[in-house]
């Protein structure tokens, strides 16, 4: 049962998505009848399932929602913008209730009540006399929870002594047309108690006048049962109105008419009635209890016909497959290495075979990664909701435009993009878009626009978030950066450099920190989150026309393009995406800053120098850095750092292995990987390294340049 319940919530996600899609179409004025039907059905199905699991709050709300939607579906109400916006709020609440039900958390009434009230207004406009039928529809639906203990033997224990009933039953033709079968009704009667039935064939015409489709038989039955008349009537529920039925307590027990076993072959589909006891051919399990354990796992279920064939697979299984393929990649790297070591001739068949193996491995890897991919649609829909709430909160009118919703991205990437995107959407509404008055004064439409686009571009995923607001106020950003000592007062910065200042830690753009964007979370946090996914983020902005953030992400999380470097005889992998450039450090470009810090002049910009070996605690700072290899790390913004390494070894794809599961987070380290020689190498988290290192960059201790080289002192015990 728990499994079906879980499946129900998964289905709810799909239904909510359909619902939101449909409402979006309605909002865009693109809705046809089928859209409205789909929307209605989605809510209806959620209600149906919720009823089965006794989720009363969900059922109640879904029912109201459905009733309101039905007004539109039935053509009694027009889907104006206002009406649709009530429906959109309705879908938000419905999503909350689904989530609440799933997690067993109640959704506060204060959230639901306003929407319920709005829906009720649609159902029964306050001014007009409300329709009585509306009330009945609401009361009529009685949710009842079902417990799936398939114990079908539920005949209530009889308290009353059995007594006799005489039942007269004469079907009309319509009874048969509707697919009813008197035999089964008598069989059901016989389950209530001893039953005798006799057939009245007086109405059967001569054979030549017989119309096979017409009913011409009647029956009289005597039943002895402790059950009430209502229980007997229940059995005839479906044929009520399709037959002459007469149920009355019998005065005495005697079958009225004689049995006619030799009746000439009765017209189809009226069969002869068998004696009261259940025939031997009764299907198994009738009125018997079936083991609930068996119920769920009947193996021989025919495959349901589905238009698109998909398989739902446990994510764990996929991850296992991803891991195994990762192993394969590593193994293959090891094999290459041993073949090299064995000195195999370059043109030997072994090499050719290996090459093929390599290609196959990559293909398998790509295919496996595709399994984890999901369209960004669900993410965009969530953002739609964030946008609505944020806009309502702040009193701006905003519309969301989405593009490329079917672009597929790794599931984990989608999950981890939610927070940064939420923040950026709120930013766009709060800081990006002008208030309606300003927009009006500028001759812009008073409704602001926010764009969300996803696309594939040269092996990466690009997600753009844009607004048509005021654009970045570079003057103000620059002043603020000078105020905070982030840049020199006389520095000349290109527009893009100023824009990138936004990514500096703690750089908040709004003069007043608003309720919406809150405080503390700045674009630096967004950037860290994106970088943690192996991504990059950049800004472009035009005054008066708006701002667009562009996020570029790797297709998958499981592999990473990295630069393999050596530092303090350890091998470290630096994500290629974070490396801006590599250079050799010239003495001239190195400047002492504080007593223990250095900066590097990179094209007239001073960048803090970080000694990776020292930062990771592998050794004491080198002290002398001239001629060392530098990795310029960071994005196109001002907060980059020059990281000293001992040597660059290689550039290659590595398979990412988590560290956190068995150990925990390590500062400055994102994950681990296994190299061709089977050794583990750590993968650097550049953003984390820089933020951890900031402020306590240690360079030469007391004596300058005295100890040029510490042996790998930090090599752990």
């Amino acid at each position: 049962m728990a499994e079906i319940r879980a499946a129900f919530f998964i289905e709810c996600e799909d239904l909510l998505e359909e619902l939101q899609d449909g409402l979006q179409a309605m909002d865009d004025g693109l809705a046809d009848t089928e859209t409205i039907n789909t929307v209605f059905r989605a809510v209806h199905s959620i209600k149906g399932g919720a009823g089965a699991f006794g989720l009363d709050a969900l059922v109640g709300f879904a029912h109201r929602f459905e009733t309101a939607l039905d007004e539109v579906r039935a053509g009694r109400m027009e889907a104006t913008g206002e009406v649709v916006s009530v429906f959109v709020s309705g879908s938000d609440i419905l999503a909350d209730l689904v989530q609440g039900s799933r997690e067993g958390v109640a959704v506060p009434d204060s959230r639901i009540a306003p929407v319920t009230a709005a829906l009720d207004t649609l159902i029964a406009p306050p001014a007009d006399g409300s329709d009585a039928t509306d009330d009945t529809t609401q009361i009529d639906f009685q949710p009842m929870a079902l417990s799936l203990d398939l114990d079908l033997d539920t005949t209530a224990p009889a308290a009353t002594p059995p007594h006799g009933w005489d039942i007269g039953f004469r079907p009309e033709t319509s009874l048969f047309e509707a697919g009813n079968e008197p035999l089964y009704l008598f069989r059901a009667l016989s389950e209530l108690g001893p039953l005798t039935v006799s057939c009245d064939d007086a109405g059967v015409p001569p054979l030549d006048a017989l119309v096979p489709e017409e009913a011409c038989l009647g029956w009289r039955a005597s039943l002895t049962t402790p059950e009430s008349a209502a229980a007997i009537e229940d059995i005839f529920e479906f044929v009520d109105g399709l037959c002459q039925l007469d149920i009355r307590p019998s005065e005495r027990h005697s079958p009225g008419a004689t049995d006619h076993p030799d009746t000439p072959a009765p017209p189809q589909p009226t069969p002869a009635v068998s004696p009261p006891q259940l025939p031997a051919s009764a299907p198994p399990g009738s009125a018997r209890s079936a083991s609930p354990d068996l119920a769920g796992e009947r193996p021989a279920e025919p495959a349901p016909v589905t238009p698109v064939s998909t398989v739902r697979v446990d994510l764990e299984r996929i991850d296992r497959l991803v891991n195994l393929v990762g192993e394969l990649v590593i193994n293959q790297a090891m094999l290459s290495q041993s073949i090299d070591a064995a000195g195999v001739a370059p043109n030997s068949p072994v090499r050719a075979g290996l090459e093929e193996f390599l290609q196959l491995t990559r293909d398998i890897q790509d295919s496996v990664m595709m399994i984890r991919a999901q369209p960004v649609k669900s993410l965009f829909q969530r953002m739609g909701r964030i946008l609505r709430e944020a806009a309502a909160d702040i009193g701006k009118e905003v519309r969301l435009h989405t593009e490329g919703e079917n672009t597929e991205v790794d599931k984990t990437v989608i999950e981890r993009l939610a927070d940064p995107l939420t923040h950026m959407i709120r930013n766009a509404i709060d800081h990006g878009l002008e208030d309606p008055q300003t927009r009006a004064a500028l001759g812009k439409p008073h409704v602001g626009h926010v764009f969300l686009r996803a696309s594939h571009r040269s092996g990466r995923i690009v997600i753009e978030i844009g607004d048509d607001g005021a654009g970045i106020d570079r003057e103000r950003i620059r002043d603020k950066a000078i105020d905070r000592g982030l840049i020199a007062a006389d520095s000349t910065l290109a527009d893009s450099e100023i824009d990138n200042l936004l990514f500096l830690p703690g750089f908040s753009t709004a003069d007043q920190i608003s309720r919406l964007s809150g405080r503390g979370v700045g674009m630096d946090v967004v950037r860290s989150a994106i970088q943690a996914l192996g991504g990059r983020i950049s800004i472009s902005s035009r005054p008066g026309a708006g701002t667009t953030f562009s996020i570029s992400l790797p297709l998958t999380l499981a592999v990473l393009d990295g630069m393999v470097v050596k530092v303090a005889s350890e091998t470290i992998v630096v994500p290629l995406g974070a490396i801006h450039e590599t250079l050799a450090l010239a003495e001239d470009d190195l400047r002492r800053l504080g007593p223990t810090t250095h900066v590097v002049n990179v094209r007239d910009q001073f960048v803090p120098l970080l000694d990776l070996g020292a930062e990771l605690g592998f050794r004491a700072p080198l002290g002398a850095y001239a001629g060392q290899v530098l990795l310029l790390i960071g994005q196109e913004d001002g907060s980059s750092a020059a990281v000293v390494v001992d040597a660059i070894e290689d550039q290659r794809q590595v398979v990412i292995k988590g560290l956190a599961d068995n150990y925990g987070r390590v500062p400055g380290i994102a994950a681990a990987t296994i190299l061709g020689d089977g050794q583990i190498a750590l993968i650097l988290d550049p953003a984390d390294l820089i933020s951890q290192a900031r402020g306590h960059t240690r360079a030469p201790a007391a004596a300058p340049a005295a100890s040029s080289l510490h042996p790998a002192a930090g090599l752990q015990p």
């Binding site: 199905s45 009945t136 079902l146 079908l152 059901a188 529920e237 479906f238 109105g241 279920e301 016909v305």
Partner: protein
């Protein structure tokens, strides 16, 4: 393999996966064979593939082909004219009765249903 005992064949048509799961479990739990379809079109497809079932259960509100259309199509097939059809809906019994009757259904079940009431209803129309 069942010898003389025939297992009741039931086709259940509902667009909600949850409902289909519940129907499947209820039917198989009662010793019946459940054939499932997610809308009227799929339901007709199933009917093309299998021998006429002993009963059909169908939801009313479904995409592509709704329950009413489905019932009409079923009744239009000679071999299926007498197959009992139960309609599933969240409407009240009174509303449902009228709709089911009009559509040519045999009986009706108000959703959410109790497993035993579904089975009882099936037994009344299909033995």
């Amino acid at each position: 393999m069942d010898g003389a005992v025939m297992t009741l064949q039931v086709l259940a048509v509902d667009d909600s996966r949850t409902m289909r799961d519940l129907l499947r479990i209820t039917l198989t739990g009662a010793g019946m064979d459940a054939h499932l379809a997610e809308d009227g079109v799929a339901g007709l497809d199933v009917l093309d593939r299998i021998a006429p079932p002993d009963a059909i259960i169908t939801d009313l509100n479904m995409p592509r082909m709704d329950g009413l259309g489905f019932i009409a199509q079923v009744r239009a097939r000679k071999a299926l004219r007498a197959v009992p059809i139960l309609v599933l809906s969240t409407e009240s019994a009174a509303q449902l009765k009228a709709r089911a009757r009009d559509a040519g259904a045999t009986g009706w079940i108000v959703k959410p249903f109790q497993p035993d009431s579904l089975v009882t209803a099936l037994r009344r129309v299909a033995g």
